[in-house]
């Protein structure tokens, strides 16, 4: 590899570079081998368990919020018009975005950030017309679905769960809604309760999420959950899953760990630690909440129903125990009425 100092061959690579390339190659091969093993395990129905690793510990030491904001400034750089289609096509190819449904010509998205939050052509996402359906608020992959059982925990991976009250905030509207339903006689309740005169039999508990009634002849409701992961190439706007009234918004200023599948297997309390915005309210069946959780690359969340809200802001010191910032929407108790399919939020780069 080494030549005499006088006549170096320009095509010969220094030994240290070769060693680095070999090391990176070996690491990449090991990563691919691990991913293949995980894929095979998933195909054979084996549930994955939490496996904290060195990478997770390393991520904990990084200034991920600063990195996220830097990434945001970098991707908001205005590109020359001639370069825009190439840059956006390259992104689409890398992350499997569908360019056929993009609302505007590619050269009209001045930056990668603008392209990332693109709207879609009208009719690209027809809303399920069944009045009894609850629709997906986003494009993505279903990570978990189910009914909340005793303890109100959502499983992150096998053997590790996080509590819904930690995710949504301990001052949840659960009791308030129950109290309202106990005293009000609204049409929403009429649908649920079917001609019942008094609603005082409703009671709710975070330890046992089922809403029960004293008489066994009446319906029992439960709490359900659905976790959806959005890939980098996916459409990143959040829409309303049903007709509902948004009573409250809660903003948790947290960390910005990545939230990909690998991160869910290696970082405990991932969703509870990350920066997120929670909307809580009421639909025809009762309680409804949407939590939009940020990540390193997609760190900020903009609300269509509250454009002034700023997330992923620089902070002197981040306190995990800090209470979330809340806003109750007016008029109190009724809030903002949002229709099924209406846009409520956008995930932004950085």
């Amino acid at each position: 590899m080494h030549t005499s100092s006088q006549g170096r061959n320009p095509f010969v690579v220094p030994g240290a570079t070769v060693a680095t390339i070999l090391m990176l190659g070996a690491l990449h091969a090991r990563r691919m081998y691990n991913d293949k093993k995980i894929e095979e395990a998933k195909e054979s129905g084996v549930e994955l368990e939490l496996q904290p690793d060195v990478k997770a510990k390393f991520l904990n030491m990084l200034p991920l919020r600063s990195i996220s904001r830097f990434w945001g400034s970098l991707t908001s750089t205005e590109l020359p018009i001639w370069l825009r289609p190439y840059a956006h096509r390259a992104w689409a190819r890398a992350f499997h975005s569908n360019l056929e449904e993009v609302a505007l010509p590619l050269d009209q998205y001045a930056s990668l950030k603008d392209f990332f939050v693109r709207a879609l052509k009208e009719g690209s996402r027809p809303i399920d017309s069944d009045p009894h359906s609850l629709v997906s608020p986003v494009d993505g992959t279903i990570m978990r679905v189910g009914e909340l059982k005793e303890g109100v925990l959502i499983e992150q991976v096998k053997g590790f769960s996080y509590s819904v009250s930690s995710l949504l905030g301990s001052g949840s509207f659960f009791p308030l809604i129950a109290a309202k339903e106990a005293s009000e006689d609204s049409s929403l309740q009429e649908k649920n309760l079917r001609d019942e005169g008094t609603k005082s039999w409703w009671r709710i508990s975070l330890a046992s999420p089922k809403l029960r009634e004293s008489s066994s002849s009446r319906p029992i409701t439960g709490l359900f959950y659905c976790v959806i992961y959005l890939g980098l190439g996916d459409y990143h706007r959040v829409h309303s899953p049903v007709d509902w009234n948004v009573l409250l918004r809660r903003h948790f200023s947290g960390r910005l760990y990545p939230v990909n599948e690998r991160a869910t297997r290696t970082i405990k309390n991932l969703y509870v630690e990350n920066e997120r915005v929670v909307l809580e309210g009421r639909w025809q069946e009762g309680y409804m909440a949407i939590a939009a959780i940020g990540a390193t690359s997609i760190g900020s969340i903009k609300l269509s129903i509250e454009p002034d809200l700023r997330t992923n802001q620089p902070r002197k010191k981040l306190l995990q125990s800090e209470a979330p910032e809340e806003r109750v929407y007016e008029p109190e108790g009724t809030g903002l009425s949002v229709k099924k399919g209406e846009e409520v939020a956008v995930f932004n780069m950085g």
Partner: protein, 42 residues
């Protein structure tokens, strides 16, 4: 990024209400790809 939905819905069907009420059922499963506007459950 990730979105988590938590909502209340009818969980158990009572015999006398069968004609008019039905319990909530998801129409997706873990690992499924979904697009905005498609039904998650009914």
């Amino acid at each position: 990024s990730t979105v988590v939905l938590v909502f209340q819905a009818l969980a158990l069907k009572k015999q006398e209400d069968e004609a008019s009420l039905s319990e909530f059922r998801f129409c997706v499963d873990k690992g499924d790809k979904i697009r905005m506007g498609e039904a998650l459950g009914r």
